[in-house]
């Protein structure tokens, strides 16, 4: 258990930061503001496996072991070996995609234990540079834990560097920008979803201007 934080910090805060910055060409703002938050849920768009790697690399090393990306158990945990690797190298929280309630309960439990989460509310990786509709699970989770702040994040270019269904990783200038940490403004799930969608739209237009 002592080994895991070391592996995570070495992989993301050192190795991946270097590779992403100089080889792939990812630009990101410093996410040091995350150190000030006790707990948070990062909500990001999803086009590539690189999304998770970039988000983890951008998080301050000190709090990195306390952040769990939420991943599909049927993809990242279909064999015991893969599940072990996902746990060690991605620190993943594996959830069953088909059983919504179990998934929500697992995420809630992780939050109660003090972990922060990374969630892709689109559910799966979409086509490069295209957004998909948000799934309602995130609104459900946030309405159960209204005291936890969420941080919207927008990634561009990742789907070009490593698209779904391709094995070849191509360097490609891409970017990650964060919005401000926020609390939900309503307990109505539709309104929570709309609030997140609005945040995504603002971030997307900010990313286009950069």
């Amino acid at each position: 258990m002592l080994l895991k934080p070391f592996i995570l910090r070495f992989t993301y805060s050192f190795l991946m930061r270097w590779i992403l910055r100089w080889i792939i060409g990812v630009k990101w703002e410093k996410a040091s503001f995350l150190s000030d938050e006790k707990q948070f849920i990062i909500i990001a768009n999803h086009n590539s496996h690189l999304d998770t790697i970039t988000l983890l690399a951008s998080i301050p090393a000190r709090i990195l072991p306390k952040v769990k990306p939420v991943a599909a158990a049927d993809y990242f945990g279909d064999t015991p070996f893969k599940a072990k690797m996902s746990s060690y190298f991605i620190n993943a929280l594996l959830i069953p995609r088909s059983e919504g309630l179990t998934a929500i309960r697992q995420m809630k439990k992780a939050l109660d234990e003090g972990y922060s989460l990374i969630i892709y509310p689109e559910g799966s990786r979409g086509n490069p540079e295209e957004e998909q509709a948000l799934k309602p699970g995130i609104a459900f989770l946030l309405s159960l834990c209204p005291q936890v702040k969420y941080v919207p994040a927008h990634l561009t270019g990742m789907g070009k560097a490593l698209p779904k269904g391709e094995n070849l990783l191509l360097p490609y200038e891409s970017s990650l920008i964060y919005g401000k940490p926020r609390l939900i403004e309503s307990s109505n799930r539709d309104e929570i979803l709309r609030q997140i969608e609005d945040d995504f739209k603002i971030l997307k237009s900010a990313a286009l201007q950069n």
Binding site: E166, L168, L170, P171
Partner: protein
Amino acid sequence: MKSDFDWLFHAKILEEKEVMIIVFVIFGLLTLASVLFFIIGKIKPDANLNELKTRTKSWWIMALLFVVTTIFSTKISYVAIAFLSFLAFRELYSILGFRQSDRQAIFWALLSIPVQYLLAYAGWYGAFIIFIPVVTFLLLPLRLVLRGDTVGIVKSMATLQWILMLTVFGISHLAYLLSLPDIEGFKAGGRGLLLFVVFLTEINDVMQFTWGKLLGKHKIIPKISPNKTWEGFIGGIISTTIIGYFLAFLTPMNAPQVIIVSFLVANAGFIGDIVMSAIKRDIGVKDTGNSIPGHGGILDRIDSLAYTAPTFFHLIYYLCY
């Protein structure tokens, strides 16, 4: 007693007086600029110097990088120039909107970068000069064809080869300067030539900018680059030619040769600059990226270099080697 730093004091660059002089000139100019901006900032706190300040900062980084890589070993210079090619190439294909089915061909093109620079390092001129214009020119279309997506394939074939020529073939001439054979009585060697062409290109950019700001009235090509004026262009070329004449000690050329070469390099720099401006107009971005603060992307710095490097190389290769 042998000191631990013996290798440093015996570094070749310190024996090359000519190179050292110009290195001191560059650092002198940078110090002058930094001090000047600092003083102006104190006297007139509301003067907007941010742009100029970040530009000077980037110059410091680039000059230090250049000196450090050349002091330690020329091998690092090859790697550093190759990396510059890679950054510029990546920047271009990222903004030019390639198809998903072009990815493998782009990857092949990336692999050609180490090959091209190894050929430069080995000094194998025949292979170096045909590798990209002939070998990748014939092979990259094959990779595109193998993937089998024919919609828009001509555009991909043409664009990929063109940006490879610009960012890898063109820039790699800088590296080959370091592999040129020694000439008797010419001490500055490849480092001198490299320093000469890089310094002259950047000074040319600065001069064209400065003259344009001071006197610029008559626009040359307002549709492409509204800031380019005849006054800036002519003033820049004359200044660059004069500066080139005084830097002749970095090259094995005689006075008339260095004047003609500096004049042609200045023109090449201008052409490279407006060609890149036209591309940026086409894809609708102002600066190509932000790898160097205040300088736009890497490309905005090396657009003229991609034209001046092969121009200078082939002129000097014809005249002196």
